[in-house]
Structures are given as C-alpha cells and as structure tokens.
C-alpha cells in the first residue's frame, strides 16, 4: 500500500486522530508532571487504571467505553490517594509508595480480568486490549469520548493556567499567597489520570508512562518558558502519535502503542542531541568555543605582559617563547588573534639567529588585552 492510499484509509484516519488527541493531552499534562518531578506518577496511575477498566466492564455488563473510562479514572485516583496516604502517614518513601500502589492495583486488575474471563462473558476479548491498547479497533464514538475528555482537560489547564504554573514552580510561595495548593495538586493528579484514560485505547496501561514523560522532556530541551514548553510538548505528542499510527498501518504485527512510544522516544533523542542551548551538539560546540576563547585570551595577555615588561609597546615576541610560556603550540591561537587584527606577524630580523616568526601587539590588541585584564581583576575582586 502506498503512503497516499494509506492516508485515505478510514481506519487509519481514526487511529491517527485518536493518537493525535492522546499526544495533545499527554503532552500538555505531562509538562506539569515532569516539571513537578512526578513523572512516574503517570506510570502508577496507568497501571492502576486496569482494575477500573475491569470494574467498569463488570458494572456495565459489556465493553462500554464510557463506564470503562469512568472506572479507570476512579481507580487511578484511588491509587494516587493510596500513594499519598502511604507517604504522608507511614515511613515509606515516595518510590516505595509508588511501586506499592502500582503493583497492587495492577494485581487487583489482573485478578478482576481473569474473573471476567472465567465468567465466559461474550465480549471479554476486547478487555485484554487495554493492556497494550488496540488502536485499530477504535470506533468513531470512542473518538468523541476521547475528544471530550481532552477538551475538558485543556479547558481546565487554560482556566487554571496561572495557578498551575505557580504550584509547579514554587508551591511554598503559592501556599503563602493563599492558593489552595493541595486542591490544585490533586486536580493536576486527577488530570494525569484523565490523560491515562484517553491513552487506554491507544497505547494501553503499560506504556502510558512514556506518553506522559517523553513529549514534555523533549519540549523542555527547546525552551525555558512554560507556555512554549506546553505548546511544543503538545505538538511533539501529536507528531509522535500520528507517526506511530501511520507506521503501524504499514504491516501486520506492527502494534500501534509501541510504535507511538518509539516515535516519541526518537523525538526525545533528537531533542537531547540537537536542541539549541541544551542539546549535546550545542554544548559540545559551546565547550570548544569557550576553550578557544580562553586560549586566545591567555596568549593575548601574555603578549601584553611581555610588552609591558620590556617597556616596548611594539615588543616582538618570539613564537617559540610564547609556546614555552603556555606549554603548547600557540600558532593557531596567534593566527586567530591576527585574524582579529589584535596581533601582527613580523618576520625575523635579518641576521637574527632565531628562525621562528615573531608577533607584536597592535594598537587595538593592546586595548583588548587591557579590557580583558581589567575584567579579570573586576571578577577576582
């Protein structure tokens, strides 16, 4: 199937729209979770959605998305509360509380899952899919549910933007200014559960953790502002989601969930490497530039000090002497300085025993050296 034919495919369109919705909501909400160092909360909440899915199934008596998602939301929230209770009221640390809530809730889900399957319910087959998601089975009605949840979450973020921002960056100050911090934090946690609920159909409970974290981490690389980070994370989420959906449509056995996660992870890798300012490539470039600047500044001030010592502004320093002074070859640094017009190349005098080239400061070079030295003195004072 060619790409064009693929894009016209009705199933793919639905999957792509679903994946885009998921990318949008998890990008936006994940930004706050990552900034608040609650990345693994998404992991716990998504695993804890499983018993809710089963309970919703049992109560509704069939695979009805509305009640299943409500169940997931309820047990996800319960798991968050359990975690909070354990960290506040016992000596367990956050990581253990997260792990306990994750594994025990998931185990309850497994028990309920097998209970439903043991009951020989006709539509049980669809339930397994919530473990890994079953994007291809997305119905148009599912999309409407997902779109509604996404819209609610986005509206909440818009309305409570200032409050969320303050609570994410400075909860103490937020509490001092009279904001209901605990209520806001609870709201943010429930909203992560909302994102998990949207993700159930697409990537399943096991892979939701990366869905929450990856777009936010990638976006953080490119910007320092929360506004831009949230928008970028949403964009990355959408791109990753759609890419995963399209690739998975190319052949059998290519599960949508894992491919969405892998696409997003690729975006993370590229961002970590290439983002200006924080990327590795950028840092490497900056490191080299700083090193060169330092080296040339050292050589320049050496020439200046030599000239001062000899009370001769046009003192000609022997290249070998400058090398010995710095313990390395300084020819490149001197050539760079010459390029800047700060030093002047002078060929050795006729009859001079030294064969090495000589270098002298220019007028502007002397000013530059004086500027550097005063700057250094200022810094050391």
């Amino acid at each position: 199937m060619t790409l064009l034919a693929l894009l016209g495919d009705y199933t793919l369109q639905k999957v792509a729209i679903g994946a885009a919705l998921l990318g949008l909501i998890s990008g936006v909400l994940g930004s706050f979770a990552v900034l608040r160092k609650q990345s693994l909360l998404g992991d716990t909440l998504s695993h804890a959605a499983l018993p809710g899915v089963c309970l919703g199934f049992i109560i509704a008596g069939g695979r009805e998305l509305g009640s299943i998602l409500t169940g997931a939301l309820v047990t996800g929230t319960l798991a968050a509360l359990t975690m909070l209770l354990l960290t506040r009221m016992s000596r367990l640390k956050t990581d253990a509380a997260l792990g306990v809530a994750l594994s025990v809730f998931f185990a309850v889900g497994v028990v309920l899952l097998t209970y439903i399957q043991g009951g020989n319910n006709a539509s049980q087959g669809g339930l397994d899919s919530f473990l890994f998601g079953q994007a291809a089975a997305t119905l148009t009605s599912d999309l409407w549910v997902m779109a509604t949840i996404t819209a609610i979450a986005l509206a909440l973020v818009t309305v409570l933007w200032k409050e969320f921002k303050l609570v994410s960056f400075d909860p103490e100050f937020a509490a001092c200014s009279g904001l209901p911090v605990i209520l806001l934090e609870a709201t943010m946690t429930v909203m992560i559960a909302l994102a998990v609920v949207v993700g159930l159909q697409m990537v399943g409970v096991v892979l939701m953790a990366a869905m929450i974290i990856a777009p936010a981490v990638a976006a953080r690389q490119w910007t320092k502002r929360l506004e831009h980070m949230v928008l970028l994370a949403a964009a990355f989420g959408i791109v990753g989601g759609v890419c995963g959906a399209v690739i998975s449509a190319m052949g059998p056995g290519l599960a949508t969930g894992p491919l969405i996660i892998l696409s997003l992870s690729l975006i993370v890798v590229v961002s970590l490497l290439l983002a200006p300012g924080r990327g590795f490539a950028w840092e490497l470039y900056k490191l080299r530039r700083d090193r060169r600047t330092l080296r040339t500044q050292q050589v320049l001030t050496t020439l200046y000090r030599l000239a001062r010592h000899h009370r001769d502004p046009a003192f000609r320093s022997d290249q070998g002497m400058v090398d010995a002074y710095h313990g390395t070859n300084t020819r490149r640094a001197l050539q760079y300085l010459a390029g800047k017009g700060w030093v002047r190349f002078e060929s050795p005098h006729a009859g001079d025993p030294a064969t090495q080239p000589h270098w002298a400061l220019t007028e502007s070079g002397r000013h530059e050296a004086e500027r550097i030295l005063t700057e250094l003195e200022g810094a050391s004072r």
Partner: protein, 383 residues
C-alpha cells in the same frame, strides 16, 4: 521410600505452585529490601518491563528461554536500563524519575514489537509477558536424578540461593553501602559496584520469575513484602525474615483464594502481598496507624492529668482555692467539656494524683510533686 516420597512431593501440583510463588517472593524480597531502603524501588518496575526485550532477543538468538546463560543474557537488559537511565541523569538534562520513565518503555516497546513480529507463535505472547502462568509451572519439568522436578522450582530455587548467598557474603558491605554510602566509599567498599551487582541479581530474578508471574506482577513481589517489613521493624535482618514470611503467607493464601474464586493465581498472590502491607500499615507494632493513634491518646491523657495537677497546685492554699479547685472550674477556666473534665478527674484519682475532699479537688503528695516537677524542673530530685 524416599524416592516415592519425593515423587509425591514433586507431583503435588498445589504444593508446587505455592512453592514457586513463595520462592519468587523470597528471592525478590531479598533484593527488594535494599531497593526499598535505598529509595530506588521504581528501578524494579523499569527492570521488570525491560527484560521483555532481553528475553525475546535471547529467544531469537538461541531459541531457548530457560537456562542459566539465557537468564544472564536477558538479565543484562535490565542492567542496561539502569545504565542508560543513569547516563541520562548524569547529563543533568533529565530528572531521575523522568529518565527511568523514558528508558524502559523504549525497551519494552521494542520487546513487544519483536514478539509480535517474530515470536507470536511461541509461548511468549504479549499477554503472558504481563501476567505470567504460574498455574502451569508444573507442566514444564526437568529430570533430576530420576525425578521430574518443575523447571520453575529449579530456576527460582537457584535464584533464591544465589541472592541469599550474595547478601550473606556481603551483608556488612551492603548494609553500610545502603545506610551510609559516603562512608562505604571512603572505606573502599565500592558501593556503586555492589549496587550494580544487586541490580543484576534483581534482573536475573525478574527473568527467572518471568514465566511464573510475568513482568509487572514481579514488581509487587519485589517492593511490597520489603515495604511491609519496613513498617514492622528497624532491624535489617528482621526485614529479610518478615519479607520472606509475608511472601510465603501471600503465596499460600493467594493460591487458595485464587482457586476458590477461579481467578489468576499470580495476581491473587500479588494482591495478598498488598493485603499484608495494609495490615502492617494499620496494625504494625510501632509505626502502625493503630499504635500511633493509641500512643497519641495516651499522651493526651497524660497531658490532661499534668495540666490538672498544675492548675490545682497554682491555686492550692490560695484565697480562691474553693472556687478554682472544683470540677466546675475546669470547664470554665481550662475550657474542658464536662465529660472531658470528669474523665480527667476520674483518671487522676485512679493514678492517685488527686483526692476528692467533698467538692474540692486536692493534690496528693505525688500530684504535688508532679506539678512542681513541671513548674521547676530538676529542683526536687532530693525528695
């Protein structure tokens, strides 16, 4: 005689399943104790997920899922997750929690894709990956000295022994590295290497337990029993003991409940570890909610008696003594409800801090001493 006894033992399906469950729990909680104490429990979650990639990779290469080399090979993926996460953390671009949550889904996704593409016809399907098949462990047997021993018993048993041997050999070093890593480093114990070996053992345990309980339920066996034990005791060796006991109890109770309700055995065992954690949380001897509540209540009662004693002492012998030192005055001056005032008076009488002289409350010698100790601490030791 012994042979037939052993055969009966190994052919007892119920017993074999419970034994595998208990061994998974003991082996996991041995390593889990250190993870919980170090505050890196969620690494077990990352390891549990990412070994899926290792297992399928090893299967693609050797077409075997069991055997010591296969376990080691797959376990290395667990270590790879930890290594990659630490690499990410060390760049200081990504926080620790986010780094862990970024790496393992990638390996897990790759694992699931490989299973779907190349191994969908073998017994590792995506469903087993998550839930395990502890109910069928007795089907896969090894012949040892003429006996058919379930393979899971052999692998989990060896894993338990290896973990126990490692902890036994390096008990002091591990203890020091867990509670005071800088000192361990200063003394030259290489806490980093010890920790990596511990994580390798965790991965190995995860791989060995994979067929029985799957990748996610494994997390319950690693984290929950040690966490429950941590709520019960401050002693490290007791944590191991409690962890093992909780594992055995969860395995037995989980098995019978699962059979009774006809649900997943591994899942029910994991749920039971959670139940035991809840019990420890509520009724633990020192850190449990009930104990804390009881202690607070006792403290409050003691404070009330002390307040009463000081109040009576302040007005003793004074002109307003008859007005102040009566139960009625406690309601007005100490703002106690009448039931609280009566309760405190009654309890103080019982403890012989005060006596009733008609309406008036009078301090006894003990009560007077108590009040003076509070008002002028340390002045009355010679009495």
């Amino acid at each position: 005689m012994i042979t037939s006894l052993l055969d009966t033992f190994f052919n007892d399906i119920d017993l074999m399943i419970m034994l595998v469950g208990a061994l998974v729990g003991i082996a996991s909680s041995l390593v889990g104790t250190f993870l919980v104490l170090r505050g890196s429990s969620m690494l077990s979650d990352a390891i549990g997920h990412s070994i899926v990639f290792g297992i399928i990779l090893v299967w693609l290469i050797t077409h075997q899922t069991s055997g010591p080399w296969q376990i080691l090979g797959a376990a290395l993926t667990g270590l790879l997750t930890v290594f990659l996460s630490e690499l990410l953390i060390n760049t200081r671009k990504v926080k620790a929690d986010a780094a862990i949550g970024l790496v393992f889904p990638v390996l897990f996704s790759l694992g699931i894709l490989l299973i779907n593409l190349y191994a969908s016809d073998v017994h590792i399907d995506a469903h087993t990956v998550l839930l395990g098949e502890i109910g069928f462990v007795w089907l896969d047997t090894l012949s040892i000295a003429g006996h058919d021993v379930p393979r899971a018993i052999v692998t989990m048993g060896s894993m338990t022994l290896i973990n126990a041997a490692f902890i036994g050999l390096f008990y002091k070093e591990l203890k020091l590295a867990t509670f005071d890593a800088p000192l361990a480093k200063a003394l030259g114990f290489a806490p980093g290497i010890l920790f990596y070996v511990l994580l390798l053992l965790t991965s190995g345990t995860a791989v060995a337990a994979f067929d029985a309980v799957g990748a996610v339920l494994f997390v319950a066996f690693v984290i929950v029993p040690p966490s429950a034990a941590y709520l019960l005791t401050d002693r490290l060796w007791l944590m191991f003991l409690y962890g093992a006991l909780i594992s055995v109890a969860s395995s037995i109770s989980g098995y019978y409940l699962a059979v009774w309700w006809d649900v997943s055995i591994g899942g029910m065992m994991a749920v039971m570890t959670g139940v035991f954690l809840a019990l420890a949380f509520l009724f633990g001897p020192r850190y449990g909610m009930a104990a804390q509540w009881f202690r607070r209540r006792q403290q409050r009662a003691l404070n009330d008696s002390r307040t009463l004693a000081v109040h009576l002492y302040n007005h003793e012998g004074g002109p307003e003594q008859d007005v102040e030192n009566v139960t009625q005055a406690l309601r007005e001056h100490l703002l106690w409800s009448s039931s609280r005032a009566n309760r405190v008076v009654e309890r103080s009488c019982q403890r012989q801090l005060i006596t009733l002289q008609g309406e008036r409350l009078a301090l006894t010698e003990t009560g007077r001493y108590l009040a003076r100790e509070i008002l002028e601490p340390g002045q009355h030791n010679n009495r």
